[in-house]
């Protein structure tokens, strides 16, 4: 992969394996009115995401992987966000204390997230070129022509066979696996420093998954991006993650135990 395919004019400040994002004492306890006992989703959790490597978190369905991802990114809906304790340090700031422009400027630009349902994560009414270049236009003020060129390059990168005509398509024209690739392209469009992928590539076949995971590790290598993969697929984590944890009962344990 050529470096300038990702580049928007940003050089990583991090050296490989220094932590980019640190989670300290993160807790999320949800009140469940029906059961009357509060449910612990995340229990004073510590985690470092090192630059340039892929970290994996394995968890069974319902273990709280998605909520953990959203809590780290400070993207939980307001009613849940109020229940989070602890801190998430990125570039010396606690994400949970940040607000407004300072915070929104980080999203997609430095902190990117891939949601687990690829088709629902796309606006059905907007063509692929616009969705793909949105982050770049928002954060880097690309003009329409640059944005379209980048969109074509990114689509080619994630394995679209005919990127020039695909940029004009709409999400309902895409198959599930193509939308998954598109979501990846959107996430890496600003070459972020941290990328959280929630159950990625589950709808791709083995070959497609290997291709996309290859892209993620290339992204991690080239740009020293810290990638966090939340998945219930042990094989995927075993073969691609440099370090893996298991999330159970709100705690992280090293390794892929069940």
């Amino acid at each position: 992969m050529k470096k300038n395919e990702f580049e928007v004019g940003k050089v990583s400040l991090y050296r490989a394996n220094t932590p980019v994002l640190s989670v300290r004492g993160l807790s999320l306890i949800i009140d469940t009115p029906a059961k009357k006992t509060p449910r612990t989703i995340i229990d004073s959790l510590n985690l470092d995401l090192p630059a340039g490597s892929i970290t994996g978190i394995y968890g069974q369905t319902g273990a709280g992987k998605t909520l953990l991802g959203l809590a780290i990114m400070a993207l939980l809906p307001a009613d849940l966000a109020g229940l989070v304790k602890g801190s998430v340090i990125f570039e010396g700031n606690d994400l949970r204390q940040m607000a407004g422009k300072a915070m929104t400027n980080l999203y997609a630009n430095k902190l990117a997230i891939m949601f687990q349902n690829p088709q629902a994560s796309l606006n059905p009414n907007i063509n692929i070129a616009s969705q793909l270049s949105q982050a770049g236009r928002m954060h880097h003020h690309l003009d329409a022509k640059q944005a379209k060129e980048r969109a074509v390059n990114l689509l080619q990168l994630v394995g679209f066979l005919d990127p020039k005509s695909s940029v004009n398509a709409y999400p309902h024209h895409l198959s599930l696996s193509m939308s998954q690739r598109l979501i990846l392209a959107i996430a890496i469009s600003c070459s972020p420093q941290v990328l959280i992928a929630d159950d990625p590539f589950s709808s791709l076949d083995d070959e497609g998954r290997a291709h996309c995971m290859g892209l993620l590790s290339a992204l991690a290598r080239e740009f020293n991006t810290a990638v966090l993969i939340l998945s219930h697929n042990k094989d995927l984590l075993a073969s691609w993650a440099q370090k893996s944890y298991t999330l159970s009962a709100g705690k992280l344990e090293e390794g892929l135990s069940s």
């Binding site: 993207l75 796309l122 907007i126």
Partner: protein
Amino acid sequence: MTLAGKIGLAMSATLGLLMLIISLLPGWTDYDLVVSEQANLPPAIFNNFKLAGELAGLSVDSPYASRICLLGTDELGRDYLSGLMRASLVSLGFSLGIAVLSILIAFSLASLAAWYGGWVDGLVMRLVDILYAVPSLASIILVLAIFGAGQAMVFVCLLGLGWYSEIKVLGIQIKIEISLPYCEALRGMGAGLFRTMVKHVLPNLGSVVWTLVAMRLLVLVLQEAFLSFIGFGPSPPWLSWGILLRDGILSLDHAGHRLFSTFAVMAWFLTGISLFLDGLAKQAVVKR
């Protein structure tokens, strides 16, 4: 667009063009000219399309004597078709303008309520509840009676009567829309209130918004006609459908064609515009 939508567009466009030509182009705009000798002429079809002056016994070189009045003239000798078209321009302009403006205001407030939730949501919705409880038409008549009628006041009053009525529907629609995963993903990309609402939610709710505009338009035409009918409409030289309806009823015994031509033009326009807006709404339905 649907066939019905295209027919609606054609209906509104043909009469709309005629309306603009007759009511705006100089030479046609002779409604203000009072020629008392030409008063109460019948429609041209009943007298072999003779010139107005000829019918009134005027010399043909006097201005306005050399024209054919297709729908006859009114009590003051003014061309009725010109008046009808001018009234259409005023009534439709008012109603469309207020309808679009009302929905824009409603969409903005509903967006704020849905985006921030909590006390902002509560404040907006309770305000709407209070406004719903006010007997609106009665209070408008009161306001117009105190401050005097006139086109600007009518505009303000009709806007005041309608801006809040769609906030609740839009608020719920927007709440549903922003809870969808794509809006969550937008938040994860750093998109703020304005970008999310204007670039994503508004186009996706296009079918709802066009339908609401169409519904408001019809209500506003009726309200404006009602106000004009009871004498609180725009004042001369402005005209409106309500004023013509009142005059048409008063002259029903000797010039029934005035009332019926006004009815026909209203029905033609409103059917056309409703069909067109319905076509726009159907076109805006999002494929998911």
